[in-house]
């Protein structure tokens, strides 16, 4: 079972969804030259079939702990702090906000790349 969050755009009369699933995998690093740990990790996998406004798919987001903040794991939205999320609910709400609204590059000096908002049209 996973949690599906439905987002409805009144202006476009269209719905999109974001899925939060809790899974277990051996995670391979992005860097091909890095050593892969054979140990399994338990984490949240956040996915959506929605596209960004430039028609680019959203990347899959992996959340291994409550200190993995949205915006390149360094800063929370709005409140410019490096504090970890205190609850799973707070994490889910913040990631959902980020999918819907997108963010600018290097927001709060986090070195994150730009992400467009969710496309409903």
């Amino acid at each position: 079972m996973a949690v599906n969050i439905q987002i409805y755009s009144n202006g476009n009369s269209a719905s999109k969804s974001i899925t939060f699933n809790f899974v277990e995998d051996v995670l391979a690093p992005k860097d091909a030259s890095a050593t892969i740990s054979p140990e399994a990790s338990y984490y949240f996998r956040v996915t959506t079939s929605a596209k960004q406004t430039n028609n680019v798919a959203f990347p899959v987001k992996i959340v291994r702990g409550l200190d993995e903040l949205v915006l390149n794991r360094q800063k929370q939205r709005i409140v410019n702090t490096a504090n970890a999320y205190s609850t799973i609910k707070e994490m889910v709400v913040d990631y959902t906000y980020d999918f819907i609204n997108g963010h600018a590059a290097n927001l709060y000096g986090s070195s994150c790349t730009v992400q467009r908002s969710m496309k409903f049209s």
Partner: protein, 161 residues
């Protein structure tokens, strides 16, 4: 959903630990009135049973990394959290201890160190994960179930790492 399989060699029996994410309105029967907000949390359950009275473990509701098994410190991440729950369930079920005690009786009253060293290697676990969709619903959750899980910690001889 993540399902971890725990195999006990002595019993030739497989137990499961299930970790799943839920988004529901939680009714806190013995705490504050329900505020109507949807809460997102992990629910951890197992088919293992406590050795002390053969009762089932209560379902654990995890909202923060502080919601750990009795006697364990705050988890550093979700992997640490789940691994500690698996360890706690195996410890309370005495899966390893039961296998070592059976070998003790057949061997005679050999040294304690022999039995304790074999106990940790008798069980192995593997895991798998899957996904499906769910819709929100209202769930009754009593805080008394959490307190009962806390009280069970007193029966654990070595809950912490």
């Amino acid at each position: 959903m993540a399902t971890i399989y725990v195999f006990n060699e002595a019993e030739n029996k497989t137990y499961t630990v299930t970790v799943d994410v839920f988004g529901t309105v939680v009714d806190k029967l013995l705490a504050l009135p329900t505020d109507g907000d949807i809460d997102y949390y992990l629910r951890i359950s197992t088919t293992m049973r406590k050795t002390v009275d053969n009762s089932a473990f209560p379902v654990s509701i995890v909202r923060t990394l502080d919601d750990v098994p009795p006697g364990y410190p705050t988890a550093t991440d979700f992997t640490d959290l789940v691994e500690n729950y698996i360890e706690y369930y195996m410890d309370e079920s005495e899966l390893g201890a039961s296998t070592s005690s059976s070998s003790l009786s057949s061997v005679s009253s050999s040294s304690k160190s022999t039995s304790s060293s074999s106990s940790t290697s008798m069980s192995s676990f593997s895991s798998s994960s899957s996904s499906s969709s769910s819709s929100s619903y209202i769930e009754n959750w009593s805080s008394s179930s959490m307190s009962s899980s806390t009280s069970s910690s007193s029966s654990s001889s070595s809950p912490g790492p």
